[in-house]
């Protein structure tokens, strides 16, 4: 009964074009953001920041990036890990080369470099489609990691090949590096995610978003009505890789602290792909839901049974966890192939009709 569109007539197109045209949605989102900024820092402990919230935010960012490319523009990519690596390594190179440059700006620059790399690897998408394209994006994944692993310049010639986030402050507050507090890193991550989510939301509901979706839904028709497929696809690769690049920088600087190329391996690419499929292709909200599902579910599955008083050998538990994870993925796909975001929407639709069944 509380979720009602009725009575909220949009009298202007402007009103209808707002990010969240429905009052309840708007209020809800604002409340969530305020809560995340003002309340969470006081109630979460290190474990929550470090093991749950920060990875969730980092992966949300990456998931939004991939969702722009795959969910909106329809270009299936398995190279996310590679593009994240570009962001991470480039941010590392820049901050060690220019220690005085503001680290937040470095994140953005790293994203831009990733965008350029994304464009390069997006070029084949003009001719190659679907799973063929997906598999070719693995070339990006493997090549980029190989490069960072092989060329010592990228890891400042450390014999171990491991890069570590050096300490950097912004406005006198230490935001990255081992001594920075998880709470600060969380807030930085949160700010990035909020800002870039808004930007993504703006993009997808405007001209560019529509061209992406047009290419996704039917590329030939899109071209015939005047969309330049090459430009549009490359833009999708660029912006998506930008997001992934920033996510990669966040991954290294705000979450892991140090990494070798393995940290960005193909499993990362797959994880992010799971997120957007489970969350919902072509849905920004879905990116968050998916990121939450994939990062939190394993943690939940590990920690829940002991809390419920089940105890079993740790390996058995881990196997059962994997099985449950796989089964849940299949289950959710069967229940709703369009992802959690769609479930959420159906829920809202039902709520709107409630108490009448249809």
């Amino acid at each position: 009964m509380f979720y009602r569109e009725a009575g909220q007539f949009k009298t202007t197109y402007a009103g209808d074009q707002a990010v969240f045209p429905i009052l309840q949605d708007r209020a809800f989102v604002i409340a969530v953001i305020l809560f995340a900024f003002l309340v969470v820092p006081f109630i979460a402990d290190d474990y929550w920041f470090q093991a749950i919230l920060i990875p969730f935010l980092v992966f949300s960012m990456a998931a939004i990036g991939l969702n722009l490319l795959t969910g909106y523009a329809g270009q299936l990519s398995l190279g996310t890990g590679g593009f994240m690596a570009v962001g991470g390594y480039m941010a590392y190179k820049m901050t060690t080369a220019f220690p005085d440059l503001n680290i937040l700006i470095i994140f953005i620059l790293a994203g831009l470099i990733a965008a350029v790399v994304g464009i390069l690897f997006g070029i084949p998408s003009l001719r190659i489609k679907g799973f063929y394209l997906a598999v070719t994006t693995l070339a990006a994944q493997f090549f980029i990691l190989w490069l960072f692993n092989k060329v010592p310049w990228f890891y400042n010639y450390f014999s171990s090949g491991v890069i570590a986030a050096p300490p950097r402050s912004v406005a006198g507050i230490l935001v990255v590096g081992p001594a920075s507090t998880p709470m600060v890193r969380y807030l930085v991550a949160l700010s990035f995610v909020v800002v870039f989510t808004l930007a993504a939301k703006n993009l997808v509901r405007g001209r560019i978003g529509r061209s992406w979706m047009a290419i996704r839904d039917m590329d030939i028709a899109a071209e015939i009505i005047g969309i330049r497929p090459f430009q549009v696809k490359l833009l999708a690769f660029a912006i998506s890789s930008f997001y992934c690049g920033v996510a990669g920088a966040m991954f290294l600087f705000l979450y892991l602290g140090s990494a070798e190329t393995e940290a960005f391996n193909i499993n990362v690419s797959f994880d992010v792909l799971f997120m957007i499929i489970i969350g919902g292709l072509g849905s920004i909200l879905g990116s968050f839901l998916g990121a939450a599902f994939i990062t939190l579910l394993p943690i939940l599955l590990t920690n829940l049974p002991p809390h419920l008083g089940f105890s079993m050998p740790i390996d058995l538990q881990s196997h059962i966890e994997v099985i449950t994870f796989g089964a849940l993925i299949i289950f959710f796909l069967i229940v709703e192939p369009h992802g959690l975001a769609r479930l959420w929407q159906i829920g809202k639709e039902k709520l709107r009709l409630w108490p009448f069944p249809y």
């Binding site: 795959t70 299936l76 084949p124 001719r127 190659i128 489609k129 679907g130 799973f131 063929y132 598999v135 070719t136 693995l138 070339a139 493997f142 090549f143 190989w146 092989k150 030939i220 028709a221 015939i224 193909i266 797959f270 792909l273 799971f274 499929i277 489970i278 292709l281 390996d315 058995l316 196997h319 059962i320 966890e321 994997v322 099985i323 994870f325 796989g326 089964a327 849940l328 993925i329 299949i330 796909l333 069967i334 192939p337």
Partner: protein
Amino acid sequence: MEALQAVFVLPFLDMAGEPLFFLEVIIGGLLTGVNYSLVALGFVLIFKASGVFNFSQGIMVLFAALTLVGLMERGVPVWLALVLTVLAMIALAFIVERFMLRFLVNQDEIILFMATIGLAFLLEGVGEIAWGADVKELDIGIPDKSFEVGGILLNEFDLFAAATGTVLVVGLAVFFHKTPIGRALRAVADDHQAALSVGIPLKTIWVVVWSVAGIVALAAGISWGAKSGVQFSLSLIALKALPVLLIGGFTSVPGAIIGGLIIGVGEKIAEIYWGPLVGGAIENWFAYMLALAFLLFRPQGLFGERIIERV
């Protein structure tokens, strides 16, 4: 100038300088290639018959090999273990159809792809619980001695695997192109709903195809497992089969074998003659780049079905 020479001249001089070794590299590449083909074949079967990009193919390879070794470790004779494993793979096909595919008819291919990833997790967990995580030696009695013919080193087991691969490919090619069921499979891949509408029993088709893919996985599992022992990394072999698919085309049985050979030879030559220039270990991405280069000329792979672009 020197760099150019290092890239464009020296490697070829190197090849010409030691022709026997070059031949050995090519033969090694071909034999490896057949092994890639075996894995790729499983993908092709399922993709061709249902449009599903079966991510769990790698795990199926592992699962089949694990079951075989697991049974043998429990004292079951080799032939019986083989039969039982085949039965297990057929059972798996039934289960997959009954609890997964059936509910996902007519969904987007990416959704089906995702579901097979879920399946991969499931099988991984079940496999570990059932057979444990140890590395197991797989020895079904095929000789694997090396011998030299005219200065070229060959390995019996490699030759055996190559022969098996060839037989499988020929058999499957005939199956697809000469039987009505082959036509039905291709119809299903095009349009699930339309296939249903003309009375093609999707369920049966899927069980058949997944069973065959399971058996192919067993063959691949034996061939790879003999080399590395049977253990969980075996499933990663799928990643080596993907560029093969790209070159051969997702829908072509002969393509899988030709693609395998091209990748096998190509990556060996690249690694051995060009790898040292850049520090080696270029095989992995080189295979993908090679495939990519092919695709730029034929976006559906060498033998894949033409991608239909029409309005």
